[in-house]
C-alpha cells in the first residue's frame, strides 16, 4: 500500500481519507465535570478518540509518591495513564490496561506536561492526582489525553498558567516530491489511527500556545511512527503544522470552558456541549 496511500490522496483532490483537508481538525466534543466524586473531571472526544480524565487533589501526599517526593518543597503530581482493554477499534484487545512500558512512559510525559502548567509552588507538600482513562483509540490519543487532563484541572479549580494542548502532525507519505501544491507535504494535523499507521512519521507536540507569542515555549515533542525516521529537513514544517493545530484546539477548548462556566455554575451529568 506504499503507493496506494499517495494515490488515494491525489484521487481525493487533496482530501484525506476521511474527507478532511490537511490542516483541519476532527470534530471535538467536550464535557466537563462528569464525576461528582472527583475534584475535577473531563470527557473529551476528538473524532473517535475518546478519553476520560479525573483529577483528585490537592491533598496530603500518600503512598509511594509521598515517600519519593518527601524532600520536595513544591507539590507532587501523580499521573496514571491507562488504556481500556477494549479501546482498539481494530478488534484486538490490549492485554493489561496499565503498567506496561508504554503506559509508564506516557504517564511520565503527561506529568511533565502538567508540571509545566500547574503553579506547583502554590501547593507545597501536597499531591495532585491525574487519572487518565482512554476509552477508545483512533489516533492522537496521547495528545487528546493531555487536552482532557487540562480540562479536568480547570474543572478541579487548580490554577494553571496556560492550556497545555497536544496535537499530532503526520507525514502520510514521506515522498519528497518537492511539490508545493500538495498541502499534505507539510503533514496533516490530528492524525487518525489509519494515518498514524501510514509509512510516514508522526509527531506529537504538546505546546502552551497562549502563554506568549513565542510558540516554542513549553514544548514537549514526542515522535512516533511505524519504525520510520523523520528526516531533519522536514521537522520544521511538520512542527509548525502541529503548532497551528494546537492553537486551533486551544481556541475550541477555551470557548467550551467559558461556555461551561457561564451556563453551569454546578457540574452536571446531563449536558453535552458540541463545539466544532
Amino acid at each position: 500500500m506504499l503507493e496506494g496511500d499517495q494515490d488515494q490522496e491525489e484521487d481525493q483532490g487533496g482530501l484525506r481519507n476521511d474527507g478532511r483537508r490537511a490542516a483541519e481538525l476532527r470534530k471535538i466534543r467536550v464535557r466537563m465535570g462528569v464525576f461528582g466524586q472527583a475534584d475535577g473531571s473531563a470527557y473529551l472526544e476528538q473524532g473517535n478518540t475518546k478519553i476520560l480524565v479525573a483529577v483528585y487533589g490537592p491533598h496530603q501526599p500518600r503512598g509511594s509518591a509521598a515517600r519519593a517526593g518527601g524532600k520536595n518543597v513544591g507539590g507532587i503530581i501523580n499521573c496514571q495513564y491507562s488504556t481500556a482493554v477494549f479501546s482498539f477499534s481494530a478488534g484486538e484487545r490490549k492485554r493489561r490496561p496499565r503498567g506496561d512500558r508504554k503506559s509508564i512512559e506516557k504517564s511520565l510525559q503527561l506529568r511533565r506536561a502538567m508540571e509545566s502548567i500547574i503553579q506547583l509552588d502554590l501547593y507545597p507538600r501536597s499531591q495532585i492526582d491525574v487519572f487518565v482513562e482512554v476509552l477508545q483509540i483512533d489516533g492522537s490519543e496521547y495528545c487528546v489525553a493531555v487536552n482532557a487532563a487540562t480540562l479536568a484541572l480547570i474543572d478541579a479549580g487548580i490554577p494553571i498558567k496556560d492550556y497545555a494542548i497536544g496535537c499530532t502532525a503526520s507525514l502520510i507519505d514521506s515522498t519528497s516530491k518537492n511539490d508545493e501544491d500538495s498541502s499534505h507535504a507539510a503533514g496533516v494535523v490530528d492524525a487518525t489511527y489509519m494515518e498514524e499507521c501510514s509509512p510516514g512519521a508522526t509527531l506529537s507536540i504538546i505546546a502552551l500556545p497562549g502563554s506568549s507569542n513565542d510558540a516554542t515555549k513549553g514544548l514537549v515533542v514526542v515522535a512516533q511512527g511505524a519504525g520510520q525516521r523523520l528526516h531533519l529537513s522536514r521537522l520544521e514544517a511538520l512542527r509548525n503544522r502541529a503548532l497551528c493545530g494546537c492553537r486551533d484546539i486551544r481556541n475550541i477548548l477555551d470557548r467550551a470552558v467559558r461556555q461551561h462556566l457561564t451556563v453551569h455554575s454546578q457540574p452536571s451529568f446531563s449536558t453535552l456541549h458540541v463545539i466544532d
Binding site: L2, E3, G4, D7, E10, D11, Q12, G13, L15, N17, D18, G19, R20, R26, K27, G47, N48, S89, A90, G91, D138, S174, T175, S176, K177, N178, T192, M194, P199, Q228, R229, H231, S233, R234
Partner: protein, 974 residues
C-alpha cells in the same frame, strides 16, 4: 457534516473485526465546469469547458459532458485513450473501484486525467454533502456504487441546469452516463437521466468507425447453435476461496509452455516442483501469467511433460477441439518421471496485457472477424473484429484480450493500434521494446528542463568543492565506438614505493538531482537498453554522451575511488572524493592492448596501463583462488552496415587482456564502495547479491558431466569452479566452454536489494565469491549506481541527504523496479541479437560446425560456437513419418539411428538457413550434414555462394555494433 462509516472486515484467520471510521461530508467540493457560476473554485481547477464539450453524436444532438461507469473504464480503456472523448467527469467512486480492480487500467486512467487537453475532471462525490449515499440494508456494494454514480450524474444535471437558467439557455449542457451494465442503464433512464452503452455511443459518433474496432468484446455468438461449450465452467470466486482455504485447491501462477501450446505448468508456493497441466480441459482458458486455482489429480493420473514440440498451426478450425492425440497417446510413463499433475478449475486473477502480433491471413475477403497471432508463442491466438483488415494484414498490431467465453476456442479481443509494416527494422525494434516493456518514448520537456544549460563551464565554486586531479595521467579503456564513457583509470608510483591506483567514475549524481522529473524518469527506466543497432538511453543524450561521459582531453566531474597498493595488489589505504579530471586519452581495448604490448612506448599512460595490468592479474588470481566462477555464454557481435543498419557479418566476441584489466578494477571499486556504504548506512545501502542456486538447479549439469566421465562437484562455488577447471577434453576443446555455458544456465539472477531488508549472511555474491558487492561504476547507464553515488557522497559529506535516500521501504520498491527492468533489458538485448541473426541469414545457406548441447525426445539442441547461436534440429516432425527412425534413450540422453549415436557435446555439422514461411517467427532451420544418415542428412553442398561474397569493401558500422559489446561486459560482471 459528519457521518460514520462502519464495516466489518474478516482477517485471514477468520476473525471478524468491526471497523468504525469517520467520514466527513463537505460543502466545498466544486463541479469543475467553466459554465458554473456558483462554485467558488480556483481557476486551475476548472477543467470542463463550456464550448463544444463533446464530440458530435447523432443520438445526443446537444452539448454534453460524459460520466463513466466503472465497467466502461475497465473494459474500454483503449477507447478512452483516443482523443475523441473529452470533457469527461470521473467520479471518485469509479476511480476507487478501478484502483482496486486493475492497477494497470488505473495507471492509464491517471495518465489520461493528467493530460490537460483531454479535460477529465475528478468529482469527489463520496465527500460531497449532496451526493454521498449510504448503503441501504440488503444492498450489494456494487449496486450501491452504481447508485452513487447515478446520484452524482443527477446532481450534475441539476447543478448545471440551475447555472444555465440565467444564461438564456445558450449552452444547455447535459450530462450523459455511459455504462455497459444494462441494469444500471435501465435504472438511470428510469431516473430521467441520459444513458448509453459504449457501443451505442461510439456508433452514434460522426467519426466513430475507427473506434468501433477498439470496442471491448464480451460475448461471442456461435455460428452453429446448441453446441456443447468447449471448456468446463470456472468455479465461482467463493468456491475457489473456500477450496484454497481448505487445501483442496492450490493457487499459483500459470506458465504456458513455449514449445507445446497444450501444456503448461503452475508454480505453486510451497511446492518444490512445478505442477503440470495438460490439454485444453486441463488448461481451461488460462493464459500465461494468470494466477489460477488448480486441483491436483490423484497420483495414478499424474503424467510427465511431453518432450514433443507442438504448435498451434491450423487455420481457424471453428470451435471444435481436435482430439488431443499427441498428448493422450502417451505411453506408460516410468513412474520416476511422473510429476504432479493438475487441472485448472478457476482463474483467480487475469494477468492479461496488450500483445503484439499480426493478423492471421483470412481466406474470406471482406470479413470483419479475424484471428490475431501474438508474437509471444505462449499466448493463444485471439479473435478480433476489424474493418481495416486490408491495411492491417501487412502490419504488426497490438491487441488486448477482453474475455474468453466457454464456447470459444480462442479468447476475444479488440484491436488497439498498429505499429508499422512487418519486416521493417523500425517496426521490429518497436515490437521488441514493447514486448519487453522497455520505456522508450522521447524524453518529455519536463525531463529535459532539468538538463544543464549549454555551454557548460566549470565554475570557481565547483573547483573549490572538488579535488583537482587534472594533473594525473588518467585514461579510459572501452569498447570501440563507445560514447557513454563512465569509467577511467590511473596508476602512479608513490614516494614510499607503493602504487596509487585510481578509478574515476562519471559524476552523474551531480547532474541528476533527487526529486526532479529527470530523476524520476531515470529511476523508471532504470537502465540503458542496448539493442544491436540502437541504444535506449536512461538519461538524455546531452548527459550520457557529453557532460557525463569522460571523454579524452576534456575536463569532467568524476567520483574518484583511490587506493594505495603495494606491488602485490594489497590495498593499504583507500579514499573517496569528488574530483575534476581530464582524461588524457579515450582508448579502445585494442589500442590499450597494443600500448601495453609495444615495449617502445614509454609515456606515462603506457606505464600506468602496464602497472594496472600487472595488478589486475594478481587481483584476478586471488579472486579465482577464492572460488569466483568463470562462466561462459555464447555471445556474438554483429558488423553492421552503417547505411542500412543491416548486419553484414557475425562473429563471436573476442576478449583481450585489457577487458579483464578494466573489469578487475571495476570489481575492486564496487566492492570497496559496497563496504563503505554498508558501514555508513547499515539499513539502507543499495547492494547487489547473487544467491547460491539450489542444488536441484545443477542436475542437468551434473548429468551432462557424468555422461562424459567427469564428476562435477557443486557443493560450493569454489568446488564448482575447480571441477569446471578440471573438466577438459583433449579431443574436444570446446567441451569446457560448453560445460560452462550449461553451468551459467543453472545460476540464479543477481539482484539489487536494500541492506536493511536482509540478513548480512545473505549479501553474498556467489558468482564473484565475495561477501558484499554493489554497482558503482556505471551511473550513466544504470540507476542503481546513481543511488550508490548519492549514498557515498553523503558518507563523505560531499552532498546533502534527502528523506527518500534513507527510506528503506522506498528503496526496496525501487530495487524491485531496477531488477525488473534489468531483466527485461537483458531479454530485449537477446531478442535483438536473434532478430539480427535472422536478418543476417536471410539470403544465405551455410554449413557450420556445431555441438550438441542437449538431446531431446524429438530434437537435438545445437550450439554453433562461431556465432554463439543455439537452435533446434528436429529429428521427427508431427505428422511426418520419416524414413529414418531415431531411438531415444532416456537414461543415457542419447538418440540412436543405426550405428550412429548422438550424445550431448558431440560435434556435428549442420546447414543453416532461414525459414521465412511464418512471417511472425522467422526461424533458423538446422539440417544435419555430418554425420551422414542416409535419408535424413543432406549432402554437403559447399556454400560457395556465401564464401564468394566480397568481404573487403565492408563499411563497418562500428559505432553502433559495439554498443552491444559494452553491455556484455557488464552482464558478465553480474
Amino acid at each position: 457534516m459528519l457521518t460514520t462509516k462502519t464495516f466489518f472486515r474478516k482477517t485471514k484467520r477468520g476473525n471478524i473485526f468491526k471497523i468504525v471510521r469517520e467520514h466527513y461530508l463537505r460543502d466545498d467540493i466544486w463541479c469543475g465546469s467553466e459554465l458554473c457560476n456558483k462554485c467558488l473554485h480556483k481557476n486551475r481547477d476548472v477543467i470542463l469547458s463550456n464550448e463544444n464539450p463533446g464530440a458530435k453524436s447523432s443520438s445526443f444532438p446537444f452539448p454534453y459532458y460524459l460520466v463513466l461507469d466503472t465497467n466502461i473504464v475497465l473494459d474500454q480503456i483503449n477507447i478512452l485513450e483516443e482523443n475523441t472523448l473529452c470533457n469527461v467527469i470521473i467520479v471518485q467512486t469509479v476511480l476507487e473501484e478501478v484502483r482496486h480492480r486493475s492497477s494497470n487500467v488505473y495507471k492509464k486512467l491517471k495518465d489520461i486525467i493528467g493530460d490537460p487537453k483531454r479535460k477529465f475532471y475528478i468529482f469527489i462525490n463520496e465527500h460531497h454533502k449532496e451526493t454521498y449515499i449510504e448503503r441501504e440494508p440488503g444492498e450489494k456494494v456494487n449496486d450501491r456504487n452504481d447508485r452513487a454514480i447515478r446520484v452524482a450524474t443527477k446532481w450534475y444535471n441539476k447543478h448545471l441546469g440551475l447555472s444555465q437558467t440565467r444564461k438564456e439557455d445558450k449552452h444547455n449542457i447535459k450530462v450523459i452516463l455511459l455504462t455497459d451494465d444494462t441494469n444500471n442503464k435501465e435504472l438511470a433512464v428510469k431516473d430521467g437521466l441520459y444513458a448509453a452503452t459504449m457501443q451505442e455511443y461510439v456508433s452514434s459518433l460522426e467519426d466513430g468507425t475507427l473506434l468501433l474496432d477498439k470496442l471491448c468484446k464480451q460475448s461471442y455468438a456461435l455460428e452453429g447453435e446448441n453446441k456443447e461449450p468447449l471448456f468446463p465452467l470456472h468455479r465461482t470466486p467463493a468456491e475457489l476461496h473456500e477450496g484454497i482455504k481448505r487445501g483442496k485447491l492450490l493457487q499459483g501462477t500459470f506458465l504456458a509452455s513455449r514449445e507445446n501450446f497444450l501444456e503448461g505448468s503452475v508454480n505453486v508456493e510451497g511446492f518444490e516442483k512445478f505442477v503440470l497441466v495438460q490439454g485444453r480441459v486441463g488448461l481451461n482458458r488460462a493464459v500465461d501469467g494468470d494466477i489460477v486455482a488448480l486441483e491436483l489429480l490423484s497420483e495414478d493420473q499424474w503424467s510427465a511433460p511431453s518432450d514433443i514440440v507442438l504448435q498451434d498451426e491450423e487455420e481457424d478450425p471453428g470451435d471444435i477441439l481436435e482430439e488431443e492425440k499427441e498428448l493422450i497417446k502417451q505411453k506408460s510413463i516410468p513412474s520416476t518421471e511422473k510429476t504432479p499433475t493438475g487441472i485448472i478449475v478457476g482463474i483467480i486473477r487475469r494477468k492479461w496485457r496488450q500483445y503484439c502480433g499480426i493478423l492471421q491471413p483470412s481466406s474470406v475477403k471482406g470479413n470483419t472477424r479475424h484471428l490475431f497471432v501474438p508474437a509471444e508463442r505462449k499466448i493463444p491466438k485471439v479473435r478480433i473484429e476489424t474493418r481495416q483488415s486490408e491495411t492491417l494484414s501487412k502490419q504488426r498490431i497490438i491487441v488486448a484480450i477482453d474475455s474468453w467465453p466457454r464456447n470459444s476456442r480462442y479468447p476475444l479481443g479488440h484491436f488497439v493500434r498498429a505499429l508499422g509494416n512487418i519486416g521493417d527494422k523500425e517496426t521490429e525494434n518497436e515490437v521488441l521494446l514493447l514486448e519487453h516493456d522497455v520505456p522508450h518514448s522521447r524524453f518529455s520537456d519536463a525531463v529535459l528542463s532539468f538538463l544543464p544549460k549549454l555551454p557548460w563551464v566549470i565554475t570557481e565554486s565547483d573547483v573549490a568543492q572538488r579535488v583537482d586531479l587534472r594533473h594525473l595521467d588518467i585514461c579510459s579503456v572501452d569498447p570501440p565506438g563507445c560514447t557513454d564513457i563512465d569509467d577511467a583509470l590511473h596508476c602512479r608510483d608513490l614516494e614510499n614505493g607503493n602504487l596509487e591506483v585510481g578509478v574515476h567514475i562519471a559524476d552523474v549524481s551531480h547532474f541528476i538531482r533527487p526529486g526532479t522529473a529527470l530523476d524520476d524518469e531515470a529511476a523508471l527506466r532504470a537502465t540503458t537498453v542496448y539493442l544491436v543497432d540502437k541504444r535506449i538511453d536512461m538519461v538524455p543524450e546531452l548527459l550520457s554522451s557529453n557532460l557525463c561521459s569522460l571523454r579524452g582531453n576534456e575536463e569532467r566531474f568524476a567520483f574518484s575511488c583511490i587506493w594505495e597498493m603495494d606491488h602485490d595488489a594489497n590495498v593499504i589505504e583507500k579514499k573517496f572524493c569528488k574530483s575534476i579530471i581530464r582524461s588524457r586519452q579515450a582508448m579502445t581495448y585494442e589500442e590499450a592492448q597494443l600500448k601495453i604490448d609495444d615495449k617502445t612506448q614509454k609515456d606515462a599512460i603506457a606505464f600506468s596501463l602496464r602497472r594496472l595490468n600487472e595488478l589486475a592479474k594478481k587481483l584476478k588470481k586471488r579472486r579465482m583462488d577464492n572460488g569466483a566462477l568463470v562462466l561462459a555464454s555464447p555471445e556474438i557481435r554483429f558488423q553492421v552496415d552503417s547505411e542500412t543498419h543491416d548486419p553484414i557479418d557475425v562473429e563471436a566476441k573476442k576478449l583481450r587482456e585489457t577487458n579483464a584489466m578494466v573489469e578487475e578494477f571495476m570489481l575492486l571499486a564496487n566492492i570497496t564502495v559496497a563496504q563503505k556504504i554498508v558501514a555508513e548506512f547499515p539499513e539502507c545501502a543499495m547492494l547487489r547479491r547473487h544467491p547460491e542456486p539450489p542444488q536441484t538447479n545443477f542436475e542437468p549439469l551434473i548429468k551432462a558431466g557424468k555422461h562424459q566421465g567427469f564428476i562435477i562437484n557443486t557443493n560450493s562455488g569454489k568446488e564448482l569452479a575447480k571441477s569446471l577447471e578440471e573438466a577438459q577434453k583433449r579431443d574436444n576443446p570446446y567441451f569446457n566452454t560448453m560445460l560452462r555455458i550449461l553451468a551459467t544456465r543453472c545460476m540464479m539472477q543477481a539482484v539489487y536489494f536494500v541492506s536493511g531488508m536482509l540478513h548480512p549472511n545473505e549479501f553474498y555474491h556467489y558468482g564473484l565469491a565475495c561477501p558484499i558487492y554493489t554497482h558503482f561504476t556505471s551511473p550513466i547507464r544504470r540507476y542503481a549506481d546513481v543511488i550508490v553515488h548519492r549514498l557515498l557522497a553523503v558518507s563523505i559529506s560531499a552532498d546533502a541527504t534527502y528523506p527518500d535516500l534513507l527510506d528503506k521501504r522506498k528503496n526496496h520498491a525501487l530495487c524491485h523496479n531496477l531488477n525488473y527492468r534489468n531483466r527485461m533489458a537483458q531479454y530485449a538485448g537477446r531478442a535483438s541479437v536473434a532478430l539480427n541473426t535472422h536478418l543476417f541469414f536471410r539470403e544465405k545457406v551455410q554449413n557450420e560446425e556445431g555441438y550438441i548441447l542437449f538431446v531431446r525426445k524429438n530434437a537435438l539442441q545445437i550450439l554453433i560456437p562461431k556465432y554463439g547461436l543455439e537452435g533446434t534440429l528436429y529429428l521427427s516432425k508431427k505428422g511426418e513419418t520419416s524414413a529414418v527412425n531415431f531411438i531415444y534413450d532416456e537414461e543415457d540422453h542419447s538418440q540412436k539411428c543405426g550405428n550412429i549415436v548422438f550424445h550431448s557435446f558431440d560435434p556435428v555439422t549442420v546447414q543453416l538457413s532461414l525459414d521465412r514461411s511464418n512471417v511472425q517467427h522467422e526461424k533458423l532451420v538446422f539440417k544435419l550434414v555430418k554425420p551422414e544418415i542416409p535419408g535424413f542428412s543432406i549432402p554437403d553442398q559447399n556454400t560457395e555462394s556465401v564464401a564468394d561474397q566480397p568481404t573487403t569493401p565492408k563499411v563497418r558500422g562500428k559505432r553502433k555494433s559495439n554498443q552491444n559489446q559494452k553491455q556484455s561486459r557488464s552482464s558478465k560482471k553480474k
